[in-house]
Subunit: 137 residues, 2 copies
């Protein structure tokens, strides 16, 4: 497919990277909060679109995983979008619990500050849960 067709047409033709993966941003469809970013292979994308549950490919564990399969904090897909280049996916989701395994509502709970001497990051969200109680295994 030509770049122009991919960028402006209506044929789904995801450009996976050389590892067969595409980044997928998860956004809360109600609040607009960006919750997390994961990676998908073709099978994870297909499963996400079929089941409407955000499903990713773990690069560290080398396997597919359904977000929330352990914690119960699933992300129910309201709408899946692709960007112009078709090399990024955006999932607009209904959240069933906080997104971050560290215990926050979103994975983006820290902001960069101008104070490099103090480490450069500042926590800007309240912790939503204790991961030790949710991930018991």
């Amino acid at each position: 497919m030509s770049d122009v067709a991919r960028e402006t047409g209506t044929t789904l033709d995801i450009k996976f990277n050389d590892q067969g993966l595409v980044p997928a941003i998860v956004q809360d469809a109600t609040t607009g909060d960006v919750l997390m970013m994961g990676w998908m292979n073709q099978a994870a994308l297909d499963q996400t679109l079929a089941t409407r549950k955000a499903t990713f490919y773990s690069r560290s564990r080398n396997k597919m995983w359904v977000k929330g399969e352990e914690s119960g904090h699933i992300q129910e897909v309201v709408e899946a979008r692709v960007d112009c280049d078709q090399d990024v996916v955006l999932l607009r989701c209904k959240s069933h619990g906080p997104a971050c395994h560290v215990g926050y509502h979103t994975c983006f709970f820290r902001a960069a500050t101008a104070e490099k001497a103090e480490g450069g990051l500042q926590i800007v969200e309240k912790r939503a849960f204790d991961p030790k109680k949710v991930y018991a295994k």
Copy 2:
């Protein structure tokens, strides 16, 4: 740095990939819309934080670029965040014009539909400008 320190601490320590790049999501700080995703190397990240203008590294052109340098549609950084793993950046920005070079407000102007026979994508945004008039060069 240990994984735990990186995930929960307040020291900025971005985990760039094997090409020295990190994905950076751009979100409209006012509307919450996810506008685009680009890639940054260390120099682009440093320049973004110093100038507060979203700056990326183009993998196709092999050089840094300031978003909007040609179109004038710059993204003014209100807040920069990092995710738990510190391998994704989120820029909450004040937009100075549409984000997408194809002419839409966001790069995510198409949604995946259930109708694979019809190509699988549907345009869900109105075009904001004619790229031929903005990118004259």
